[in-house]
């Protein structure tokens, strides 16, 4: 009993002390932040002369503050945030300041940590602050066991080396999550140097997620030259690869696409069939209307709607196919056709 009451009181007192200390810490951080904003502004607007060894001038207070680990971490965080949102000379100057103060030493300490979240934080800091000399260390982690360390290392390599950094796709034996694919695609969108021949190689990877990622890159960069390498993915055993292939073909289709899609249509899942119908409507090849009209009789109502939408997209010939469909006046066709027509006019 007494132990319980003692624990209760201790936790309550701990909470209150914690709150007071937290408030004081936040106040201190605000103070430091104000102090650092001057330092960061000096760095951002710094113009180096002809002498490349010029250093960014810093106040004594800032230099003294660097001895304090919390102050140092705050400066690293501010530099990382600034580097993320700035470009050009201002961004370069922030990296210059990071190097000038030898802050990479502290990020490297994090990289050496055994704790995954500290290691991942270190990787992120080093990549954003362009510490290319550590690329070998980071690259080794692109196939790390811990998912978050692996993801940060992969992003870091792409951040440092752009498309060339994707060479880890050749070796990874773990799947790349969808989230990671979105992150990598966003990083790549800002970088030149896409190499279609490398993507073509990944299109036949045994790692399904690498194949999906390659399909996404093909679509994002409209790599029409890879069309013939994309088509075989329609026969991949995994449905998620097949549906991504159809989505990819939407961006890189050619005259041969419709035939390939119609050929594999009957073996696909319903979501994949819907995507194919949508794509056939987009392609709008006149030869497709017979196939699409046949799909109006499918047992699945969503496929009927998909086929009707595709026919409407094809213009007058498609509309005629709808009107001439023998069951067009009956439920559910009447409602489906009406919806497809209304959507077109909206």
């Amino acid at each position: 009993m007494a132990v319980m009451v003692g624990t209760l009181l201790s936790i309550t007192i701990f909470i209150l002390i914690y709150l007071v200390r937290k408030r004081n810490h936040e106040r201190k951080l605000d103070e430091w932040r104000k102090q650092l904003s001057g330092t960061l502004q000096t760095a951002i607007f710094f113009e180096s002369g002809e002498n490349t060894t010029d250093t960014i001038p810093l106040t004594f207070k800032t230099m003294r503050g660097l001895k304090h680990p919390a102050f140092r971490q705050l400066l690293i965080d501010e530099l990382v945030q600034g580097r993320k949102s700035l470009t050009g000379t201002a961004a370069t100057n922030l990296v210059l300041l990071f190097n000038q103060l030898g802050l990479s030493r502290f990020s490297l300490q994090k990289l050496n940590s055994r704790l995954w979240h500290i290691k991942a934080r270190g990787i992120q800091e080093l990549a954003i602050m362009e510490q290319r000399q550590l690329v070998k260390r980071i690259y080794r982690l692109t196939n790390a066991r811990h998912e978050l360390v692996r993801m940060e290392a992969q992003s870091a390599i792409v951040q440092l080396y752009g498309f060339e950094g994707l060479r880890f796709l050749d070796i990874i034996d773990t799947p790349i999550s969808e989230w990671q694919q979105i992150t990598l695609l966003r990083l790549l969108a800002r970088m030149p140097g896409i190499r279609p021949e490398k993507i073509a190689h990944w299109l036949s990877s045994t790692n399904d997620s690498v194949r999906i990622f390659a399909l996404k890159m093909t679509a994002e960069h409209h790599l029409h030259q890879l069309h013939d390498r994309v088509i075989p993915c329609l026969r991949h055993p995994h449905p998620s690869v097949r549906i991504q292939t159809v989505r990819c073909l939407k961006e890189v289709y050619s005259d041969a696409t419709s035939g390939a899609l119609i050929h594999v249509y009957s073996t696909q899942t319903i979501p994949c069939r819907l995507a194919i119908l949508d794509l056939l409507g987009n392609i709008g090849a006149p030869d497709n209307d017979i196939f699409l009209a046949q799909q109006l009789a499918d047992g699945d109502d969503m496929l009927k709607l998909g086929a009707a939408r595709a026919l409407i997209q094809m213009g007058d010939a498609g509309r005629r196919s709808l009107d001439e469909f023998p069951l067009s006046g009956e439920y559910p066709w009447n409602e489906i056709f009406q919806q497809a027509k209304t959507e077109q006019t909206a």
Partner: protein, 478 residues
């Protein structure tokens, strides 16, 4: 040894065993919750959620918001939902045959026009009277469905049939959803590689007394009145400790109906929400899990500790009683429908751990407590009670309960610290001391009434009138 003494010993030892397992399970929940929240916060600390806000690769999400007689607040609520940050989003408001002017208000405010729309009957529902879309492109994400009244589960099923996206987010239309809630909710679905994430829940918090402006929560305040404050504490305990712990071992059975995201394909494969129960939110999660278990498909149900959804808690005993009565009936019905899973190793953690825990410590706890109280009264009248022992045990149990609540407050302070005024924390601590004497007995009594109502085959939802955030604001301004 007489039969009476054998029975008495059996009763006594069973009660001891029950209590010890219950207390141990609370300790385990606390440990697992710490581990899971720590893992989440560490990972979230270097996650840039904004990448989803603009990415064309973001998965499609349909928010389903059923509305019944919400005319007083519907326009504000929909405006708030339309301001959520997410690119690939549609908002489906389902007017479940409201008797008030709910639909007309939506038509007027959002320039709605009835459209031709074929509703695929993936799940059988009551009739749809019409589908409306706005003529103003600003509201292009909004779809309003008008249907014949069929209850919340039926309305949600209609929403599922109408939705065109891969994931559905089911919410209560009168909740305040944080602007970045969907970005955070989408992540678990995209993160998983080995097993399919079939559902993800978000923490629901109490918004009574909070400052709400233009459908957005601007400042968090702890409620001034006891009942919402007790529920604030209860929600912190349930969401920050309970759900996070169960999510850690992938054994979560309940995602709150106020805010949960689901994989639509699995929802449809399972037949959607069940309108034969008033606990449709729990029943769906259990059925989805059962579906995956029976097909041996690896899956996960995840939970996010971030406070993403704010709701108005009942502030009167009458409404609170109805709510808890319904929750009890929902739990009994759900566990009854899936009794096949109880201690069945084919269902792994679900059958061996989650189901028995819910049966013993969620469903039966009020019954055990109530029976214990009656037995104690009888024993006291007959003079069988060793009062010294009684008070020691009572003191121990009360201290344990209060300690658990204060531990939950500690977790809140160390993680999200929504109530950052010291006075608010002290009020919460005080509530933790008062709760076992005022709030808890009432909740137990409501659960007992729920059991009785179920036996009497009463299956109504019970009217849940709420003051509404907008109404409160205007009262405050007056």
């Amino acid at each position: 040894m007489s039969l009476t003494s054998v029975f008495s010993a059996f009763f006594e030892y069973s009660l001891w065993l029950y209590s010890i397992i219950l207390l141990l399970s609370y300790l385990l929940i606390a440990v697992f919750a710490i581990l899971e929240i720590r893992r989440y916060l560490r990972s979230a600390s270097f996650t840039d959620y904004s990448i989803l806000a603009t990415s064309p690769q973001a998965p499609g999400m349909s928010i389903l918001a059923p509305a019944y007689n919400e005319g007083a607040t519907i326009v504000e609520n929909v405006r708030s939902l339309l301001s959520i940050h997410y690119r690939n989003l549609e908002l489906i408001v389902i007017n479940d045959g409201s008797k008030d002017d709910c639909l007309q208000k939506l038509i007027d405010a959002y320039h709605l026009k009835k459209i031709d729309f074929f509703v695929k009957r993936s799940i059988t529902t009551k009739d749809v009277r019409g589908i409306y879309k706005s003529t103003n492109p600003v509201f292009h994400k909004l779809i309003v469905v008008d249907k014949v009244n069929g209850g919340k589960a039926d309305a949600l099923n209609v929403g599922i049939n109408v939705s065109s996206k891969e994931y559905i987010v089911c919410i209560d239309v009168d909740c305040i959803i944080e602007q970045d809630a969907l970005l955070k909710m989408a992540k678990p679905f995209l993160d998983s590689t080995g097993s399919r994430v079939i559902a993800s829940g978000g923490v629901v918090r109490i918004a009574n007394s909070c400052e709400i402006r233009n459908g957005r929560l601007v400042k968090v305040h702890l409620s001034d009145t006891f009942l919402p404050r007790a529920q604030t504490l209860e929600y912190i305990r349930a969401f920050l400790l309970g759900r996070m712990a169960w999510s850690r071992i992938n054994a979560l059975l309940l995602i709150s109906g106020a805010f949960g995201a689901f994989d639509k394909e699995i929802v449809i494969a399972c037949g959607g929400y069940n309108h034969a129960t008033v606990g449709e939110d729990m029943e769906l999660v259990v059925r989805m899990r059962r579906y995956m278990e029976e097909r041996n498909i690896p899956y996960k149900v995840t939970y996010i500790p971030d406070p993403l959804c704010w709701t108005e808690a009942p502030s009167s005993y009458k409404i609170l009683g109805r709510q808890r009565n319904r929750w009890t009936r929902g739990t009994i019905e759900t566990l009854g429908m899936h009794k096949k899973m109880c201690l069945n190793p084919n269902y792994h953690t679900l059958g061996i751990l989650s189901y028995p825990y819910w049966l013993l410590f969620e469903l039966m706890a009020p019954l055990v407590e109530f029976t214990g109280f009656i037995c104690m009264l009888i024993a006291a009248l007959l003079g069988y009670i060793d009062w010294a022992m009684f008070f020691s045990l009572l003191g121990f149990i009360l201290s344990f309960g209060i300690l658990y609540s204060i531990f939950a407050i500690l977790m809140e302070v160390l993680t999200y610290n929504q109530y950052n005024k010291s006075s608010d924390i002290l009020k919460l601590v005080l509530t933790a001391f008062l709760e076992p004497f005022i709030f808890h007995p009432f909740v137990v009594w409501s659960a007992i009434r729920g059991n009785i109502d179920l036996l009497r085959k009463k299956n109504s939802w019970g009217e849940m009138s709420r003051q509404g955030f907008a109404a409160k604001k205007s009262n405050a301004n007056a």
